[in-house]
Amino acid sequence: MTAETTNTRARRSLPSMSVLGPIVALVVLVAIGAMMNSNFLGAANITNVLARSAFIGIIAVGMTFVITAGGLDLSVGSMAAFIAGLMILVMNAALPSMGVGVPIILLGMLVAVVAGILAGLLNGFLITTVGIEAFIVTLGTMGIYRSLVTWLADGGTLSLDFGLRTFYRPVYFEGILGISWPIIVFAIVVIVGELLMSRARFGRHCAAIGSNEAVAHYSNVDVNRTRLLTYAMLGLLVGVATIMYVPRLGSASASTGLLWELEAIAAVIIGGTVLKGGFGRVWGTVIGVLILSLIDNILNLTDLVSPYLNGAIQGVIIILAVILQREAKAKG
């Protein structure tokens, strides 16, 4: 018995490149930003960046679970647009009877949350019970929701009643202790998500399913139910993000939430979650979201590179992130 299993302190030794990579990238971006523009580290700009990150961020946390469990959801952007449209329609319709006030806002929120969960369940049902590929299902629902919102808006824009809009605005623009609501909600979602992913049975089950579905099944993990839950949770979070988003513009149109799905997926991947599933980390996703918004922010604040090149730079970062991950893996 010479080849004893040793309990080395490997876990405490230097973190690997896949852990350090995203953090280093974020630090570098902050340093560049601070050097380029003195307003960059000002409270106003930081709040602005965080608040804008919040929508994609909240969705991306949900996406982390879906991807970790070996799934994908392309429909979240148009789902957000559809939910926004629905919220506005319902609130406008209820206005004559309910009047401007807290109850009607709560009604709108309820609509968003319920619609989100239902939309997520629909995706999940088609993927798990009916057994269609996630890519196909969500490509389909992506088209459906986008077209529904266009139809609801009759090709134009759905606007929230002016009085309501004024009443609802603080949900985006105000908060407690100078921290705006979207940031607070984002923070809560991240903390709960991180705990769920790294400490809870649910997260462990998601990773097991993404790693090997058959093994999960043989290990008494309810594969379909867990997958369904990831989609429902993502739907719920899309609803929550929409609740924060509607007061910002007070309207919804065919271009609301355009390409959010890709930004969310990109953030998840940059954060170190494996696209084919089996491993995910919520804190990484947060860093991914921040990296993406910082690039946008820095390009807007400085005139070094045209903001039109934003997409190109983000693309390079995504590819780099994946290369880094692969190298980390090859080294074991």
Binding site: M1, A3, T8, L195, A200, S211, N220, G332
Partner: protein
């Protein structure tokens, strides 16, 4: 007689991170000879073979190919040199057909197009040589494990190897399939091929090997002609202690009926299976590969669609629709396929160990300290040898993966354990430990089912043996009736009288 040395290792060392697993190994492969490399799980057999074939670089030491030192920069160099390796775990592209796999990377062409006719013809030829009846157009994912192994062997045959390396090729084969393989091996050695192979079935080693090298904990402890060592000698050299009493005494005095199954049907695999299992008993399940043993018991445990007239556990009727139901009634199934159904190869031992019984480790938040304690206990109890606790389970040696799988299943403390091929790929010393463990479990009042293709194993271990044939129960054997001959006769469907044609 000293045949020409084709491929040699000289003082080869190999480390994974800080852990050295090979400590100066010397090995000689000679033309026209079969060299058996044997050793305990984790001794370094697979690692040695991978170094020889160019799949992994050695940390130090030399590889000599016909006396010349070579470095295999890649796999391709190994293949160029005529070295072909069949891996312990399958190395086939699951989504491609049998034919595509056999010609993968060396597709035949006629002009710019694939020469499909020629490839089909050759494929059939190779498959015929190993007596494999599968259609070249079937996807590999649809094949049984033994057919996959035969396809691997056919693929190796197609390569006209100068050196053939096989890592536990017979672990998933039946006795007659092994004979077919050995015939091909003899044919190849007659043509001057050097063959290196490993197996935990020492009888096979004695049968086919010309030369035996024994590895223990990464060092060669014995290296001589096969005629110079007995099976017992091999076992002792491998394990370092005497292992002649492989099977524990059958002291079992069966108690109450724990599990009673009537009319279990798994569509397409098993019909009308019925049996009783008593407390304190080990029931062996024998049969040919494809007899529906695995499928029947998977169906029983809710792992695949099945129906039953009546299932009783401890006297009460139960319905089992999903794995959760089975587990709730204390019924647990240990899969035969550790790689595809048993373990998450990219996860650590801790995650794998507790996956099935995660609800025993904290509420909806997982208690990691408790998990770590369970792992300590499992490593100790099952003698799991891994370099580091945190390494991916896929990097454990095959036998240690199997031990971890057994430990994982035991986390849910099943009252009734169904173990499907529990000792596949396990060394003889550990086999002894596992048999003792299963017997002990039964003695503590649990009930155990052992499904096994190794006849000696069911006979040595089980109190009673159920033989299945083409999805149905062909008969049950106890006491003195329990002979290899009787099992084979039931398994192939011969009456008690006609004894000829028994393979």
């Amino acid at each position: 007689m000293t045949a020409e040395q084709v491929l040699c290792l000289r003082d080869v060392r190999k480390s994974f991170g800080p852990v050295e697993v090979l400590h100066g190994v010397n090995l000689d492969l000679r033309a026209g000879e079969v060299l058996a490399l044997i050793g305990e799980n984790g001794a370094g057999k697979s690692t040695t073979m991978k170094i020889l074939a160019g799949y992994q670089p050695a940390t130090s030491g030399r590889i000599l190919l016909e006396g010349e030192e070579v470095t295999f920069g890649s796999l391709h160099d190994g293949e160029e040199a005529g070295i072909v390796m069949i891996h312990q775990e399958f190395n086939l592209a699951e989504q491609l057909t049998v034919e595509q796999n056999i010609f993968l990377g060396r597709e035949l062409r006629r002009g710019p197009f694939l020469d499909k006719r020629k490839m089909r013809e050759l494929t059939r030829g190779y498959l015929d040589r190993v007596n494999c009846r599968v259609d070249p157009d079937t996807k590999v994912s649809a094949l049984s494990n033994s057919d996959k192994q035969m396809v691997e062997i056919a693929k190796a045959l197609s390569r006209d190897a100068r050196v053939l390396i096989m890592d536990e090729p017979t672990a998933v084969l039946t006795g007659s399939e092994t004979e077919v393989l050995f015939d091909q091996v003899r044919r190849m050695t007659a043509q001057g091929t050097a063959v290196l192979f490993t197996s935990h079935k020492l009888g096979e080693v004695a049968e086919i090997a010309d030369h035996v090298t024994v590895l223990r904990d990464g060092s060669v402890v014995h290296d001589d002609r096969a005629s110079e060592i007995t099976e017992d000698g091999m076992a002792t050299a491998m394990v370092g202690r005497d292992v002649s009493d492989l099977y524990p005494a059958k002291v079992g005095r069966p108690g109450e009926v724990m599990l009673s199954v009537r009319g279990l049907t798994v569509p397409g695999h098993a019909r009308n299976v019925g049996f009783e299992l008593r407390q304190g008993e080990i029931l062996g399940v024998a049969g040919l590969i494809g007899a529906g043993r695995t499928e029947a018991f998977e169906g029983l445990c809710g792992l695949r669609p099945a129906s039953a007239e009546r299932i009783e556990i401890a006297g009460r009727e139960v319905t089992i629709k999903k794995p959760r139901d089975a587990l709730d009634h204390g019924l647990c199934y240990l899969t035969e396929d550790r790689k595809l159904r048993g373990l998450l190869l990219d996860k650590t031992m801790r995650v794998n160990l507790t996956l099935q019984a995660l609800d025993r480790f904290g509420g909806w938040m997982i208690d990691r300290a408790a998990e770590d304690r369970a792992l300590d206990k499992a490593i100790d109890e099952f003698d799991i040898r891994a370099g580091r606790r945190t390494m991916a389970v896929g990097n454990l040696s095959g036998g240690n993966q199997q031990k971890l799988l057994l430990a994982k299943i035991m986390q849910s403390e099943p009252a009734i354990l169904i173990a499907d091929e529990p000792t596949r790929g396990i060394d003889i010393g550990t086999k002894q430990q596992i048999y003792a463990f299963l017997r002990d479990l039964a003695a503590k009042g649990h009930a155990v089912v052992v499904i096994s293709s190794e006849m000696q194993e069911v006979i040595g271990l089980a109190d009673r043996v159920l033989v299945m044939r083409t999805g149905e129960v062909a008969g049950t054997l106890t006491g003195d009736e329990l002979t290899e001959d009787a099992i084979v006769r039931l398994a192939v469907g011969l009456g008690a009288n006609d004894k000829e044609k028994v393979a």
